[in-house]
């Protein structure tokens, strides 16, 4: 049975597909977007790190670490990943749970057991969404998990950056009931700068999806200074409309909550401020709607 490193299994997911969903976050991603909301998902290996706001400075972990991989910071501690042996001694002694490992190696069966816990909540519409990281970067594990879900009668969705070999993408198209496809930047040069990869493969994979039978929703993250421009949204929408005008677009507002994760991982985060207002989001939505597509964003229709 296949295994993968899983960095979170989020229950009661309400933003990644229809109904109530369990979202499985798989580690490792071929892209390295500057704004990535789940930086712990960028790399495959599991690492130990510290939620510094929970750390009380008791230094139990430092005493417990035989490899001497942990050093004290003014607030919290830092784990030297090159020295750390993953023995777990520090995790065990940390009294607050501030130290945590950012992923667990799990088998398909173990993940299925977690998914089954919320079976009663899925109803006809809900189910499972594979996210990451990038689920297509662990194709054997992800495809087996999708197959198991299907066998169990659970609706499946994947959330993907589309940067995968076409034959792998085709296999996912076959295996999933819904595809949430991220298109970030249309300009190849800007795409390469911001994500580290060229977008030719992504766009050609999208063409394949657009012709297929599996329902697709395009999602564009609205990152100030990067993706959030009228021209970018318009170009993506024009591209989508030219391939299949029935595919809807969801605009995902910028969410600054991940900044703390970057701090914990000892990484720099792009200097962003506030999410966009509803009026600003409406401008981007109009730019996309101009191409005849169904466009939505969270908070679009307030309840009267």
């Amino acid at each position: 049975m296949n295994t993968a490193n899983i960095f979170d299994i989020k229950r009661f997911g309400t933003n990644d597909g229809s109904g109530i969903r369990t979202v499985v976050f798989i580690k490792g991603c071929p892209l390295s977007c500057l704004w990535c909301h789940n930086p712990e998902g960028l790399f495959k290996e599991n690492r130990i790190w510290c939620m510094n706001n929970l750390c009380i400075g008791c230094e139990s972990c430092i005493a417990a670490c035989e490899a001497k991989a942990i050093t004290r910071l003014e607030r919290g501690v830092r784990v030297d990943h090159d020295v750390c042996t993953h023995c777990g001694a520090c995790l065990n002694v940390c009294p607050t749970g501030a130290l945590r490992v950012d992923g667990i190696k799990m088998s398909v069966a173990e993940v299925m057991a977690e998914i089954e816990k919320d079976r009663v909540f899925y109803g006809r519409e809900g189910g499972v969404t594979l996210s990451g990281g990038e689920c297509t970067a662990e194709p054997e594990f992800s495809l087996e998990l999708l197959k198991e879900c299907k066998k169990a009668g659970i609706h499946t969705a994947i959330e993907t950056c589309l940067f995968a070999k076409p034959e792998i993408m085709a296999a996912f198209m076959e295996a999933a009931d819904l595809i949430l496809a991220d298109l970030k930047l249309f300009d190849p040069k800007l795409h390469k700068e911001a994500t580290g990869v060229d977008n030719a493969l992504i766009l050609s994979n999208f063409e394949m999806l657009a012709k297929g039978a599996t329902p697709v929703i395009v999602r564009i993250p609205m990152i100030p200074g990067y993706t959030a421009s009228v021209s970018n949204v318009s170009q993506i929408a024009e591209f989508v409309a030219s391939k299949n005008p029935k595919i809807p677009i969801e605009l995902l507002n910028y969410n600054p909550l991940c900044e703390g994760k970057y701090y914990a991982l000892g990484k720099e985060f792009i200097n962003c401020t506030e999410p966009f207002s509803q009026k600003e989001m409406e401008v981007f939505a109009c730019a996309a709607r101009a191409h005849g597509l169904n466009v939505s964003y969270e908070g679009m229709k307030e309840q009267k």
């Binding site: 989020k10 229950r11 009661f12 997911g13 309400t14 933003n15 990644d16 229809s18 109904g19 109530i20 979202v23 009380i56 008791c58 139990s60 009294p95 607050t96 749970g97 816990k117 919320d118 009663v120 909540f121 899925y122 109803g123 519409e125 809900g126 969270e298 908070g299 679009m300 229709k301 307030e302 309840q303």
Partner: protein, 792 residues
């Protein structure tokens, strides 16, 4: 989303009239006063009639009050009647107890919770005329003499209730009242007198007197309305119609929808005047009012707008009566909940969906008004229409905490398991906050006592000695330091529970008998099935069903504490029993690392961990089964409830440090079935799974689960549909009850800063809704701290 019924779609879009906006605004403008008017009348009747049988005396006192109290009709009111002339008056009721009033009357204006104005001349009359007469005669004084010492001895573990007020928490047979009216009941009682003698004849005579008073009361409103027809601000047409209705109801049963709503409201006012108790519950109003609604609508006499306006007038009336409690009691039951509990939807006699247009009218009324009363409940079941659940979700999303949801698939089997007939179980309603009852034929005595199992655990770990006072309180069962295994802990806990159980039951029995002796209730007895047939007062066991409920408090803390001992102390041996015992005794002084480890390194209730949740189920089961061994003073059974209302704060203050890492005097988990705040880390689905592991049969007296959501989910149709899925799962998981607070954290913080601007912000406290700004600061803070579930 739309319904396939066009009337229902129209109902969901009806607008609120100016009349209703005006009446609603007026609720907040008038200052609340404590009232001794009825106390004065009752005292006179008791003084003038020494030696009369007490039920006759009570009936005469009620009749005198109905004839003599000031009454008022406000401009714009379509439904009239109150027990004080002022809005939200706090009635001082001498028969049940005055010693707390004696201690507190001067402070009612300034106490931290539920303030009332008091007039200086009233204080004088209270001290000179009323108090001296009642010394030693009240329920409170009598019970204090009989079992005061015993109650104080066991009180930190087993708190005995119903000791200083008359018994409410009952669902009268409003359907019968609408069929008979006071004159029909009077005729019926007179017919019984002919064949009765002795105490039975006296019983019927009491009902006759009460009904005479009831008719006279209605006639007084008829006269007042007539006299106001030409007064400025009143509409002649409306006053004449009101006058006609009140005069008619004094003699005959209602026929129109307006008459029926007015008749029902009169009944609840009358019951409050007889007993000044909390919760005379209307129950399934959408069912028994429906024939009146349907007849008028079909005859073209009633528009949907008018029907909504009448329902909203009634809703506003529900807020005119509040219940004056002692400051101690107000801490347990903050925000004067009065428990007009209305249950919508559910199944009918055949087990099919019973929701109708009135159910949707009531939901629309709540959506507009968002007031603390009625305590609106929706009964849901596996075949509840999608649109009904959708409308419930929309109204919940408005943030008033209502409707709370009750699950027919859990409640009906739990009641049948307690010996309730299937027909009565299918027709269940709710009294007070969350207590389950049958309609019109039961005295459930649902709050006989609260049993603090967490305190019992504290004693079990410390040889029966209270950690807070150092006093020997329970059985000598050794200390944690001497225990060798986890089983030793369980054995000690069992002994502590046994130690308090028999003492608690004896006290409850004496309390119930004192009610029958001092506070027979002729008017109430006339609208509870069984009493008229048996010729026996409801307090003496006249009802068809006679249950008593005792609350087991609190499964989350018990589970978390026992799980921490089992895993960290006895299995992993991270801490020795001696070290943990010493830390508990010292309230974790100097042992913060241990406290945090106990808190964070053992599994907790609310996270869908089956073996841990089985601990709660085991102990709640033990508690529930122990109760089954006893019979109450009225010949009925005891059963368990799993709710605390807002008592988790004061009850927590009675408990020392516990092995779940909770420091001394901190609140317990709120509600009853909720997790300790902040400890349910896996979201709402995991919490519901944990809750579902406590067998719903054990909580047949009622359970309470609080969940808090941010408003985002309710903003659009897609989110609402997801919420409906959550409700469907709640039904399938057979959880008895859940209620939802939907409120922004910023709003609560702002309301604390600027209470003036947030006077109408209502919040679900426990089993009821109160004005947030009227809650004491510690309770406000506690609500802010409770978990909220953001979406991803």
């Amino acid at each position: 989303m739309k319904s396939s019924n066009t009337s229902i779609n129209k109902i969901s879009e009806l607008m609120q009239s100016e009349r209703i906006s005006g009446l609603r605004a007026k609720l907040f403008l008038e200052e609340r006063y404590a009232s001794i008017e009825q106390a004065h009348i009752v005292t006179e009747v008791y003084k003038q009639n020494p030696g009369l049988p007490v039920n006759i005396l009570r009936a005469k006192a009620l009749k005198a009050a109905l004839l003599g109290m000031q009454i008022r009709i406000d401009q714009g009111e379509l439904i009239v009647g109150n027990r004080t002339a002022g809005i939200r008056g706090g009635v001082i009721f001498p028969e049940s107890g005055l010693s707390w009033v004696d201690n507190e009357i001067e402070n009612l204006k300034t106490r931290p919770q539920d303030k009332f104005g008091v007039r200086a001349e009233d204080i004088k009359e209270f001290r000179e005329e009323i108090l001296p007469f009642w010394k030693g005669r009240t329920l409170e004084d009598v019970l204090d003499e009989r079992i005061g010492d015993e109650m104080r001895l066991i009180g930190k573990v087993a708190k005995i209730n119903q000791t200083d007020h008359a018994q409410g928490h009952i669902c009268p047979d409003t359907k019968l009242w609408l069929k008979e009216g006071p004159s029909g009941i009077l005729k019926n009682a007179k017919a019984h007198i002919a064949a009765a003698s002795g105490e039975q004849a006296q019983f019927y005579e009491g009902i006759v007197i009460a009904m005479e008073g009831a008719s006279a009361f209605m006639n007084r409103y008829a006269e007042l309305a007539f006299s106001l027809k030409d007064s400025p601000g009143y509409k002649a047409e409306e006053m004449l119609e009101l006058s006609r209705i009140c005069a008619k109801l004094a003699k005959e049963p209602p026929e129109t929808f307006h008459e029926a709503v007015q008749s029902a409201w009169f009944l609840y006012v009358l019951l409050h005047m007889e007993s000044n108790a909390s919760s005379f519950s209307p129950g399934r109003m959408d069912q028994y009012l429906y024939p009146f609604y349907e007849k008028d609508k079909n005859a073209g006499r009633l528009s949907l707008d008018k029907a909504l306006e009448l329902v909203q007038c009634l809703f506003i009336k529900f807020n005119h009566i509040v219940y004056l409690r002692s400051s101690g009691s107000a801490r347990y039951f903050a925000g004067f909940p009065i428990g007009f509990n209305v249950a919508l939807g559910g199944v009918n006699k055949q087990g099919e969906d019973a929701s109708n247009e009135l159910s949707y009218l009531f939901l629309r009324a709540q959506e507009h008004l968002g007031l603390p009363q009625p305590n609106l409940s929706a009964r849901v079941h596996k075949d509840s229409p999608e649109y009904f659940l959708y409308r419930c979700s929309q109204v919940i999303g408005r943030g008033s905490g209502m409707p709370q949801l009750f699950n027919d698939e859990a409640v009906i089997p739990a009641l049948i398991n307690r010996g309730i007939s299937k027909e009565d179980a299918l027709n269940y309603a709710i009294v007070g906050c969350v207590e389950l009852t049958t309609m019109g034929n039961s005295l459930g005595w649902s709050d006989a006592a609260m049993f603090n199992m967490v305190k019992a655990l504290e004693l079990a770990l410390n040889d029966g000695v209270c950690l807070l006072s150092g006093k020997q309180m329970g059985a000598k069962t050794g200390t944690l330091a001497e225990f060798k295994t986890y089983e030793d802990v369980e054995a000690a806990l069992m002994k502590q529970i046994d130690f308090f159980f028999s003492r608690m039951i004896s006290c409850c029995e004496i309390v119930e008998k004192a009610h029958a002796e001092l506070l027979p209730s002729p008017l109430l007895s006339s609208v509870i099935q069984g009493c008229m047939e048996k010729g026996l007062d409801v307090t003496a066991g006249g009802a068809v069903y006679n249950l008593s409920g005792i609350q087991a408090i609190q499964c989350a803390n018990i589970e978390d504490s026992l799980a921490a001992l089992k895993t960290l102390v006895f299995e992993q041996k991270r801490f020795s029993p001696q070290a943990v015992h010493a830390a508990l005794v010292n309230n974790f002084e100097g042992e913060e690392l241990m406290r945090l480890t106990l808190l964070n390194k053992a599994p907790k209730y609310g996270n869908d961990v089956e073996w841990v949740d089985n601990i709660a189920n085991k102990w709640i089961g033990i508690f529930s089964k122990k109760l089954e061994q006893y019979t109450n003073a009225r010949g009925g059974i005891y059963h368990a409830g799993l709710y605390t209302v807002s008592a988790h704060v004061p009850m927590g203050q009675n408990v020392g440090a516990t092995p779940d890492g909770r420091s001394s005097r901190e609140p317990l988990a709120d509600g009853g079935m909720s997790a300790v705040y902040g400890r349910d880390m896996k979201g709402p689905t995991a919490l519901l799974k944990s809750v579902s592991r406590v067998d719903s049969h054990f909580g047949s007296n009622g359970t309470l689960l609080n969940m808090k959501f941010l408003p985002d989910l309710f903003m659009h149709e897609d989110g609402l549909k997801k919420f409906v899925s959550l409700i469907r799962a709640f039904v399938e998981l057979k959880i008895i009850h859940v209620q939802f607070n939907v409120v922004r954290l910023e709003d609560l913080l702002k309301a604390q800063e600027n209470p003036e601007q947030y006077r109408s912000l209502t919040i679900r406290v426990a089993g009821y809704t109160a004005y947030f700004t009227e809650l004491a600061r510690d309770l406000q803070n506690e609500i802010i701290k409770r978990t909220s579930y953001a979406s991803l």
